[in-house]
């Protein structure tokens, strides 16, 4: 089967409460059969967030393919097309294999000894004297492993003592964490993927699951094709495969999600679709919620969101009359206006209906990256390890005791510094060393002209740890070649709290080193010590790091203490896993006892309009005692709305064939060919007055910059244009800018600090004719053309994979 032409593969329908049938997908190097493979090594998917169990095929010391793990609870053997083909990037000839140091403006190859000497000498110089901690910033990823993050977190927080640590998870799942904390007290998804097996209604909020987590979409499609399919609601301004499948599709104007959730909540209340007894027993804040949403009649919502009032009522009825509702939320909410408040709106809907903690009734505030959950858990981003509360002295005491350091050494005067602020400090010059691991901010942060200027600053020492010469690495002062998935061992956790062990299958290329090894070597050379003069970091390999992390997680919501590598070799486990739950935990809050106890919760709360932190006293005064918080604030328009000069709304996002800035997927020929270059999706009604036709070259400009792309006339909401964010400059000689983030605004949600990638005002200008050649956009996804006669996206013989139903 050509999984480029059909990214989701064959349907295996099933009914409510039944086991999802297995279907094992395999792709091997040309000419190889499964019997030719020397060994199959346990791993999990790395090019999206779903957490699918995989096996890596190895022959002659090389990775030669992958197949799905039939027994895995997450995917039952299925493999996402990005994973089917993406492993080829591991073998790419342009991997970084030696460290590089900038001298007189140019990067030169050096050995590891020289590289670490340079890094440690610079670090010691900066750390010397008061406020040394404040000169360091760390910006990591959602794609390295739990053991890497935890080690990084300890060396940063207890070694250097800096709060300036964040991950690119800030761009992807910060709002997931923020809404879970705000509503339920701590991070941690209430639901489970198995809720798809039981639900009678599915609601996808700004979540194009068909392209972001294809295997989860296969599960949903299989239920939809089965005997008693769940009803389905989609909220998305684009005609995504999800929107096309849904019974109710609300193509809201981007930036207006909160008006929609307020309106839906109002309808639930007015129609008596609220489980009053449950709400009374298990939530706080109903009266304020009712008062806040009262003005949001379907007509008012229709006007703000640009949808029909009747559709709002239909959506509310779907949500209000089902018995088992499963919701997922993603970037359409997280990267948009009033992100945390709108995400909390979805939590509210579940709380009002008591749709939490039982089979089919649950929700997942989704993640965008394979290991984003671990970045949040271990505190390598703007959280503290083990979902601890920076404002709770006893939580800091626990960490100080665990690490055997003074409490004052662990920065907790304020929340850890968020990514946009780290870059701001670097811009102002107070951060002088910025260590970037496994991410590419020169393409992925908003307002790229500014980001490039910061990274290129002479007085900022930029360290980049990566696989390839990315756009960011090209601006670095020191480049450290890293090993990746398949070349190192470690664990990672998906959105439904499933922990997988991913084992080393092959050696990294030449001198490339595992991230953990690099962090450990740095800690050793910096000679970080605990209170007793012993080395601060007492482990030296992945399993040692995992064991150390288990202690840190003890008694917290993400309790890993019942797991071992040995146990994980027998299959994935959902946390919490401890003495009480040795086999893990499928769903949280089954007894509706939420993590809002002040001594346990991860936050004392925030004002959702400003992000102002609430105090411990204020939190205690609410006496939540295990009840969840209902939240609502009024809708406010986005910081940037269309104007005469910039009359259209921009949204940015992904296609199914690529991940992030294509460092891997752009090096897998089947994926690269499926979506080879940037495009811009435009509604024909917006294109016509500008004389723009399919395939024409168009300049998209905002007050901050411009990108040039081929026009794809699509069924997108009129007045909105879409740019995929995957395309930087590493694989093009053209001087024409093509990164979506040349245009995006520097602005973020006040609580989650997640940037607003999905609301900006732009204008279009036709540059030249495409001569009848269509845009290089996939035809079988949300970027499907409206015009006739455009050749369908196919992968051909090179993309031929096998798929065996039944395992």
């Amino acid at each position: 089967m050509d999984r480029i032409a059909d990214p989701w593969g064959e349907r295996t329908p099933y009914g409510a409460g039944e086991e999802w049938p297995a279907r094992v997908d395999t792709f091997l190097d040309e000419g190889l059969q499964p019997d030719d493979v020397d060994s199959w090594v346990q791993a999990a998917s790395i090019l999206h967030s779903n957490g699918d169990g995989l096996e890596i095929a190895v022959k002659d010391g090389r990775i030669v393919g992958v197949r799905g793990a039939a027994e895995d609870r997450v995917n039952h053997g299925r493999v996402d097309p990005k994973d089917l083909y993406g492993w080829q990037a591991n073998n790419s000839p342009d991997r970084l294999t030696r460290p590089l140091l900038r001298r007189e403006g140019e990067l030169f190859e050096i050995d590891w000894e020289t590289a670490m000497d340079a890094l440690v000498a610079k670090s010691k110089e900066l750390l010397d004297g008061p406020g040394g901690w404040g000169r360091f910033g760390f910006y990591t990823s959602g794609q390295i492993f739990l053991e890497d993050y935890y080690t990084l977190g300890v060396l940063g927080k207890a070694g250097l003592g800096t709060p300036h640590m964040d991950g690119n998870t800030r761009l992807c799942t910060a709002t997931a964490g923020a809404t879970l904390k705000a509503s339920f007290g701590t991070d941690g998804q209430p639901g489970s993927y198995t809720d798809v097996d039981h639900c009678d209604a599915l609601a996808l909020w700004g979540h194009n699951v068909a392209e972001t987590q294809t295997v989860l979409w296969m599960r949903m499609l299989d239920r939809r094709a089965g005997p008693d399919p769940p009803r389905m609601l989609a909220v998305d301004p684009r005609p995504t495969p999800v929107a096309m499948e849904a019974d109710v599709h609300l193509a809201v104007r981007n930036g207006t999600n909160l008006a929609l959730t307020n309106g839906l909540i109002r309808e639930l209340i007015h129609n008596g679709w609220v489980d009053e007894e449950w709400v009374e027993a298990h939530t706080l804040g109903f009266e304020k919620l009712e008062e806040t949403v009262d003005p949001y009649t379907p007509e008012k919502v229709a006007e703000i969101c640009g949808v029909e009032a009747g559709q709002v009522r239909e959506a509310a009825e779907l949500l209000g009359t089902c018995e088992r509702l499963f919701s997922t939320v993603l970037q359409g909410f997280y990267q948009s206006n009033q992100a945390t408040a709108a995400g909390c709106g979805v939590n509210d809907i579940h709380l009002l209906r008591g749709m939490i903690g039982r089979p089919g009734a649950g929700l997942c505030q989704m993640n965008g990256q394979p290991t984003a959950q671990n970045t949040r858990e271990t505190g390598a981003n703007g959280d503290l390890p083990g979902f601890r509360n920076w404002d709770n002295e006893s939580h800091i005491e626990e960490l100080a005791e665990l690490w055997n350091v003074e409490m004052l050494q662990v920065p907790h005067w304020a929340p850890p510094t968020h990514a946009m602020q780290i870059f701001r400090y670097a811009e102002q010059g107070s951060i002088e060393l910025l260590w970037i691991s496994a991410t590419n901010p020169a393409v992925s942060l908003p307002e790229l002209s500014r980001v490039r200027e910061i990274l290129a600053k002479k007085d900022l020492f930029v360290v980049v740890q990566d696989l390839f010469m990315t756009e960011t690495a090209a601006l670095a002062d020191l480049v450290l070649p890293a090993a990746t998935w398949g070349e190192k061992t470690g664990t990672f956790t998906n959105v439904d709290r499933t922990v997988h062990l991913s084992e080393k299958a092959v050696d990294p290329p030449r001198e490339a080193k595992a991230d953990l090894e690099i962090f450990l070597e740095y800690a050793r050379r910096m000679d970080f010590r605990d209170k007793d003069g012993e080395p601060l970091i007492k482990w030296s390999d992945p399993e040692g790091a995992f064991e150390a992390w288990k202690e840190c997680s003890r008694g917290r919501p993400c309790d890993y203490t019942g797991m071992t590598y040995e146990k994980l070799r027998r299959g994935p486990i959902q946390w919490p896993c401890n003495e009480e739950h040795p086999d893990g935990t499928e769903r949280l809050y089954t007894d509706a006892d939420f993590n809002t106890y002040p001594d346990f919760s991860e936050t004392f709360g925030h004002d959702l309009t400003t992000g102002a932190a609430q105090t411990e006293e204020e939190h205690r005064a609410k006496e939540a005692e295990g009840r969840a918080f209902l939240h609502a604030i009024p809708y406010r328009p986005s910081p940037e709305v269309p104007s005469e000069e910039h009359p259209l709304l921009l949204t940015t996002g992904r296609t199914v064939f690529h991940f992030h800035t294509r460092t891997k997927t752009g090096r897998a020929p089947q994926l690269a060919d499926a979506a080879p270059d940037v495009w811009v999706e435009i509604h024909p009604g917006d294109a016509a007055p500008l004389g723009i036709e399919e395939g024409d070259t168009v300049q998209v400009s905002s007050p901050r910059g411009a990108a040039v792309a081929k026009a794809r006339l699509s069924g997108i909401r009129p007045g909105v244009v879409f740019l995929p964010f995957h395309y930087g400059s590493w694989d093009t000689d053209s001087a024409r800018p093509r990164a979506a983030n040349e245009l995006t605004i520097t602005a973020w949600d006040p609580v989650s600090k997640q940037p607003l990638f999905k609301v900006g005002a732009v204008r279009l200008d036709r540059v030249e004719s495409g001569g009848g050649e269509p845009a290089p956009a996939p035809t079988n996804t949300a970027s499907a053309p409206v015009g006739e006669g455009i050749p369908a996206t196919v992968g051909g013989a090179a993309a031929e994979a096998t798929s065996r139903v039944g395992g």
Binding site: P130, G131, W133, G134, R135, P411, W413, A414, P415, T417, M420, Q421, R424, Y425, E427, Q428, G429, S430, D607, T609, T610, G611, A612, A613, Q614, R636, P639, T746, A747, W748, P750
Partner: protein, 151 residues
């Protein structure tokens, strides 16, 4: 009856605070959160002033002789750099505190005057003022170590 003075003072303080939020937001536009949130809070202050206006008019008819030195002029334009930002936020905090305590005193007076409409107006606004202070405090606490020890 001296309530008119306090209402006038509070009304003017809200307008001053709105203006100061605008100036600080624009003066520190490179701090994106300061820029956007200050704009939102300036509008909140304007709305408070508008809500107070009918009461200023109503009690103004009974105005007695004006006591001295009720009006404060704390804010004298934005400063630059990380420490400048901290000082500007500090000024805003003190101005908001002045508004905050004024709401409390006006609410006390409204009870004495048996004016339930005024009491309702105060209740609608004072929580937002408290949140403005909480935001300023949060933001200053985040900024202080870097501005005062590192930069």
């Amino acid at each position: 009856m001296q309530l008119a003075h306090y209402l006038g003072f509070l009304h003017r303080s809200q307008l001053d605070l709105a203006q100061a939020f605008r100036e600080v937001g624009e003066g520190h536009a490179e701090e994106a959160d300061i820029f956007h949130i200050s704009g939102t809070l300036a509008k909140q202050c304007d709305a408070h002033a508008e809500k107070l206006h009918p009461f200023v008019e109503r009690y103004g008819e009974e105005e007695a002789e004006e006591p001295d030195r009720l009006h404060s002029e704390l804010f004298k334009g934005t400063r630059e750099g990380p420490i400048g930002l901290l000082r500007d936020l500090h000024d805003l905090y003190l101005m908001a505190a002045e508004v905050d305590i004024s709401w409390t005193l006006v609410a006390q007076a409204a009870q004495g005057a048996r004016d339930s409409e005024l009491l309702e107006a105060v209740e609608a606004c004072e929580e937002e003022t408290a949140t403005q202070m909480a935001w300023l405090k949060s933001r200053m606490k985040e900024a202080a170590p870097q501005a005062l020890v590192v930069a």
